[in-house]
Amino acid sequence: MYEILQYVVLALQSVTSNTGATVNPLGRPLGYLVIGIIEFPVVILFLAALLGKPRSTKITSLFVGWIFMMLIVFICAVFGLSWLLGIFY
């Protein structure tokens, strides 16, 4: 547990403060912050969807299922397009 906390603190430090004298050629991993901000509302959405009332198991699963389906569609579209355009290379 303590170790995990340590890692979390390190991760936060790497975002918020300069930890070294020499420069990391990739800069600070600010993406943790940005992706966190982008996806944070989604977490709220899932919490609200699963915990709020009125609730219907059917509709909630439909909702979650739809979101995951669209995510898979998005990823498959990228892979599919890559595969399709691969015939030119």
């Binding site: 995990i4 890692y7 930890t19 070294g20 020499t22 050629p25 990739l26 991993p29």
Partner: protein
């Protein structure tokens, strides 16, 4: 697998996943503060030299603008002539009345400047290639990690995973990167523009396809075997100096002790490793001769 076992299995996998993720965070922590990073797939290049930090110094006072470096580079690195004439090195002609701080004013990439009568009086020449920055902006933005800074300070491109978004080119403050706009043609042999000999394809250098980015590698295939880059070798006036800045005995380290140097667009904090200097009078602030 029984139900209980399966649950335990997933539990273990879950814990493992967390541990792996944490470790990757931790190894990232270690990377901060060390001037090295990530190569994503197996390399076509020789392994990096441990502890080295390669850089180049160019004597703009000595340079006569002959462009031998540019042509030798093209032959050495299988840079195509057609279609789309790519140069990894650009040589620009400047005059005494143009301050160096205004490099924005330099002539276009591939401008047709006649150097046959170089060095022209009152003119001086400045050559550009990739600056192999210590803090390269191009590696940060790359969405696939195709361009990366290796442990010996060389900024390289993995042509196999470049998707050709040209984001690195937008990020580069020096226009050092080149894009393969066309499918490059590689004739089996070319007549050298340097000495007229017949030059075949260099097997040490991977060929590029259309749609990927490329740039000066400091002749990584030579440097990592202990040789100097081709442009340094062919320069007739020894204007180019190459070496390891981490080695205090190297030529460039000793030069840096003795001459005054400047770097281009240093204010951007990219820490370029291409230093310009001259032993002449042109750049001294107080007009003293050196």
């Amino acid at each position: 697998m029984s139900k209980m076992n399966r649950r335990e299995f997933f539990k273990k996998v879950g814990v493992l996943g967390v541990v792996v993720a944490m470790n990757s965070v931790a190894s990232n922590m270690k990377r901060v503060g060390t001037p090295l990073l990530t190569k994503t797939v197996g390399t076509e290049y020789p392994p990096p030299v441990k502890g080295a930090n390669y850089g180049m110094m160019i004597d703009v006072g000595a340079c006569i603008g002959c462009r031998l470096c540019q042509h030798a580079c093209k032959l050495e690195n299988n840079v195509p002539d057609a279609p789309g004439n790519i140069h990894w090195i650009d040589v620009f002609e400047l005059d005494n009345h143009r301050p160096v701080s205004e490099v924005e004013n330099i002539p276009p990439v591939g401008a047709d400047i006649d150097y046959t009568d170089a060095p022209k009086p009152d003119h001086w020449y400045m050559s550009f290639n990739c600056f192999h920055c210590d803090n390269p902006p191009c590696t940060k933005v790359c969405p696939t990690g195709a361009t990366y800074k290796d442990e010996d300070g060389l900024v390289l491109v993995n042509y196999d995973i470049c998707i050709g978004c040209r984001y690195c080119m937008a990020a580069c403050p020096f226009n050092a990167r080149r894009f393969n706009w066309w499918n490059p043609e590689h004739p089996p042999s070319r007549i050298s523009t340097v000495d007229g000999s017949v030059v075949t394809l260099n097997e040490d250098v991977p060929l590029r396809t259309r749609g990927v980015t490329e740039k000066c590698t400091f002749c990584v295939h030579r440097v990592r075997k202990g040789e100097t880059p081709k442009c340094v070798e062919v320069c007739p006036v020894r204007a180019r100096h190459f070496g390891d800045f981490n080695d205090p005995e190297s030529e460039v380290s000793r030069l840096r002790e003795t001459v005054r140097t400047i770097r281009i667009r240093e204010n951007l904090g990219t820490d370029p490793k291409l230093f310009y200097f001259t032993r002449g009078v042109k750049w001294t602030e107080d007009g003293e001769k050196h």
